[in-house]
C-alpha cells in the first residue's frame, strides 16, 4: 500500500514539475473551487433578472457585464462551470462503468463475447459522437439528464477499446496466468489482477474524456439541444451571446475564454500525464530488463 502511495506521489511530483501541467492544474483548481463555493462568493444570483440594466459592458460592478435580461454574466459563467464540471464527472462515470467491463470481458474471454461486444462498440462509433448525442436527445427529449446520458454514452467506446487492449497485453503475463493456475475465478482475475494493473492508461483516458465531455456538452448547448435554460451553461451563453455580437461583443467572448482554457488545461494535463506515465513505464521496463540480465 505504502509502495503504491509512494508511486502515486512520484507521478504527481513529476507531473507538477512540468510547467504546462502545473498551470493547468492551478487553473482547474481555481475553477473547481470557485464553482463549488459559488453560493458564498458570488454576489449575484445567476437566474435573477434585472431589466433596468441589460447588456451592460464589463464594469467594476459586473466584471463580465450583463446579459439581455440583466443577469450578471460572471455569475452565470461561474454557475456554468458547475454545469460543465458535473456533466464531465457524470459522463466519465457512465462511460467508465459501462465501457471498462465491456473491454474486460471482451479482452479476457475473446471469442463470441469479444465479437458481439466489439460490434456494439462499432455501432456506437458508426456516427460521430456529437450526432450520436443529438440522436439520443431527439428521442429522450431535451433535459439535463438527457444531455448527461448522451455525453456519457459517446465515451463508452474509448474506455472499452483501451481496457480491451490493456487486457490483451496482460492476458498472457505470468502473474495473470498464475492466478488462473491457482484456480482464481475469471471475475477475480479480471477485477483484482488485470484491472489494477491497467490504471495508468485508464487514468489518462478519464482526464481526456473530461475535456471531450465538457466540449460536447457546450457544443450541444450551443446548438440549442443541450441542458435547457435557465440553467447556466457556457455553451448556452455563447449561443445567446452570438445574437448580440454588434451590441455586446464581450457577451460571447468572455465565457468562451473560460471554456477554452478549461478544455486546453484538461487536454494539456492528459497529455502530460500520459507522457509521465509512459516515461515511468519505460524506466520500469528497463529496470526489469536489467534485473533479467543480472539473473542470467
Amino acid at each position: 500500500m505504502t509502495g503504491g502511495m509512494q508511486r502515486s506521489l512520484d507521478v504527481v511530483r513529476r507531473l507538477l514539475s512540468r510547467r504546462g501541467a502545473l498551470l493547468s492544474v492551478a487553473y482547474l483548481v481555481v475553477v473547481a473551487v470557485v464553482a463549488a463555493l459559488a453560493r458564498w462568493i458570488v454576489p449575484y444570483d445567476p437566474v435573477v433578472q434585472d431589466l433596468t440594466s441589460t447588456l451592460e459592458p464589463p464594469s467594476a460592478k459586473h466584471w463580465f457585464g450583463t446579459d439581455e435580461l440583466g443577469r450578471d454574466l460572471m455569475a452565470r459563467a461561474i454557475y456554468g462551470a458547475r454545469t460543465s464540471l458535473l456533466t464531465a464527472a457524470g459522463a466519465v462515470v457512465i462511460a467508465g462503468t459501462i465501457g471498462v467491463p465491456i473491454g474486460l470481458v471482451a479482452g479476457f474471454f475473446g471469442g463470441w463475447r469479444d465479437a458481439i461486444l466489439m460490434r456494439i462498440v462499432d455501432v456506437l462509433l458508426s456516427l460521430p459522437g456529437i450526432l450520436f448525442a443529438m440522436a439520443l436527445i431527439a428521442v429522450l427529449g431535451r433535459s439535463q439528464l438527457a444531455a448527461l446520458v448522451a455525453v456519457g454514452i459517446t465515451g463508452i467506446p474509448s474506455f472499452a477499446r483501451i481496457t480491451r487492449a490493456q487486457v490483451l497485453s496482460l492476458r498472457k503475463r505470468d502473474f495473470v496466468m498464475a492466478v488462473e493456475a491457482l484456480g482464481g475465478s475469471s471475475t477475480y482475475n479480471m477485477f483484482r489482477t488485470v484491472l489494477p494493473n491497467s490504471w495508468s492508461p485508464l487514468l489518462v483516458q478519464v482526464v481526456i474524456l473530461s475535456s471531450v465531455a465538457i466540449l460536447l456538452e457546450a457544443a450541444l448547448a450551443f446548438l440549442g439541444v443541450g441542458i435547457p435554460p435557465p440553467t447556466p451553461s457556457w455553451g448556452e451563453m455563447l449561443r445567446t451571446g452570438k445574437s448580440f455580437l454588434y451590441e455586446a461583443p464581450y457577451y460571447a467572448v468572455l465565457p468562451g475564454i473560460v471554456l477554452t482554457l478549461t478544455i486546453l488545461s484538461l487536454d494539456t494535463l492528459g497529455r502530460t500525464l500520459a507522457w509521465v506515465l509512459e516515461e515511468r513505464h519505460e524506466l520500469g521496463e528497463e529496470a526489469d530488463a536489467e534485473a533479467e540480465g543480472s539473473r542470467s
Binding site: R119, I120, D122, V123, S126, L127, P128, G129, I130, L131, M134, A135, I137, A138, V139, L140, G141, L215, A218, A219, F222, L223, G224, V225, G235, L238, G241, K242, L245, Y246, P249, A252, V253, G256, L259, T260, I263, L264, D267, T268
Partner: protein
C-alpha cells in the same frame, strides 16, 4: 484483396443493421404514438393512411422494420412533417452545401497543417517545434463555435469584409460569391483540422526520419531538402492519407456546429431544425444518411490504405 473488401463489408452489415434498427425504433421511444411521430398531429386521414400503408404499421414489428428499411434503401425516407416534402429531396438539396464546406475546410487544413508538420519535424525539440506544437494544441482545444464567433467579430463586425451569416453559393455558379460565403466557415473548421493533420504528419515524419534509407540517402551526400522532399515526405504521406480520409468522415459531425455558427444551410442545420421541430421522419432520414456516408467513407479509407500500402496483410 477482394476477399479483404468482402470481409470488411460483411463485418459492417450487422453494424449498419443494428444502427438503422435503432434509428427506426426512434418513433416508438418518443412521446405520443408512432403514427403521430411519423406524420404529425395535424395530418389528414389520407396522410395517416398512406403512412400506415408505407411502413405497414398494422403489421408485426419486424415486418414494419423490414418495410421501412426496404423503402429507405431505394431512397424513400418518407415525408417531412412540416414541409410535407420528401425527406430524400430535402437532404439532397442541402448535401452540396455541406460537401463544399467540407472540401474547403480540408483544403485550409492541409495548407495550414502540412508546413507546420514539416517544419517541426525538421527541427524536433527546437523552440520553433515547441511553438508550432503549441499552435496545434491551441487549434485542437479552441471550440470551433467560439473560434467562429471570434472570426465573425473580426472579419464581419470590425473589418466588415465578409458576411456574418453565410448562404450557400455554388463554386461553379459564382466562384467569388462562393469564396466570400464559405471562407469563414471553412477557416473555422479548417483550423481545427490543421491541428490534427499537423500532429499526425509530424509524428509520421519523425518516425520515417529514423529509417535506414534516410541514413543511406544522407550518407551518399543527398541534400537534406531532397532527403525530406523526395523520400521522407512520400513515405510519411501514406498513413496520412487515412487521417485525411477519416477527417472527411468526421467533418459530417464537425460541420453541424460550424453550420450553426454561420447559419450555413447544410445538412447539419437541417438536422438541428428537424430536432427543434420534432420532425421525426426528417431526423431519421438525416441521421441514416450521415450514418451511411460515415460508414462508407471509413470503409473506403481502409480499402484505399490497404491498396496503396502493399505491406498491409489482408488475411
Amino acid at each position: 484483396m477482394t476477399g479483404y473488401i468482402v470481409r470488411r463489408i460483411l463485418q459492417l452489415l450487422p453494424v449498419l443493421l443494428i444502427a438503422s434498427a435503432g434509428i427506426w425504433a426512434m418513433i416508438y421511444a418518443v412521446p405520443g404514438t408512432p403514427i403521430g411521430a411519423l406524420v404529425g398531429e395535424n395530418a389528414t386521414p389520407e396522410q395517416i393512411q398512406a403512412a400506415i400503408q408505407r411502413v405497414g404499421l398494422d403489421q408485426p414489428v419486424l415486418v414494419q422494420f423490414w418495410a421501412w428499411l426496404k423503402s429507405a434503401i431505394v431512397g424513400d425516407l418518407g415525408r417531412s412533417i412540416f414541409s410535407r416534402d420528401p425527406v430524400f429531396d430535402l437532404i439532397m438539396l442541402r448535401a452540396p452545401a455541406t460537401l463544399q464546406l467540407g472540401l474547403g475546410a480540408t483544403l485550409v487544413g492541409l495548407i495550414l497543417g502540412i508546413p507546420v508538420a514539416v517544419i517541426s519535424a525538421l527541427y524536433p525539440g527546437s523552440w520553433i517545434d515547441r511553438s508550432l506544437s503549441g499552435w496545434s494544441a491551441l487549434a485542437l482545444g479552441v471550440p470551433t463555435f467560439w473560434l467562429g464567433i471570434l472570426l465573425i467579430l473580426l472579419f464581419s463586425v470590425e473589418l466588415r469584409w465578409l458576411p456574418s451569416a453565410s448562404t450557400y453559393v455554388s463554386i461553379f455558379d459564382s466562384p467569388w460569391g462562393a469564396i466570400r460565403n464559405t471562407l469563414l466557415p471553412a477557416l473555422t473548421l479548417g483550423v481545427y483540422v490543421s491541428g490534427i493533420f499537423a500532429r499526425f504528419l509530424r509524428a509520421s515524419l519523425l518516425s520515417e526520419l529514423k529509417a535506414d534509407y534516410v541514413r543511406t540517402a544522407r550518407s551518399k551526400g543527398l541534400k537534406e531538402r531532397d532527403v525530406v522532399g523526395r523520400h521522407v515526405l512520400r513515405n510519411a504521406l501514406l498513413p496520412f492519407v487515412t487521417v485525411v480520409g477519416l477527417m472527411m468522415a468526421a467533418f459530417i459531425g464537425g460541420t453541424v456546429v460550424t453550420e450553426a455558427v454561420f447559419t450555413y444551410p447544410g445538412i447539419g442545420r437541417l438536422l438541428i431544425q428537424a430536432i427543434t421541430q420534432r420532425d421525426y421522419p426528417l431526423i431519421q432520414g438525416v441521421i441514416l444518411f450521415i450514418l451511411v456516408v460515415h460508414v462508407v467513407i471509413n470503409l473506403m479509407v481502409d480499402v484505399l490504405y490497404a491498396y496503396i500500402d502493399p505491406r498491409i496483410d489482408y488475411s
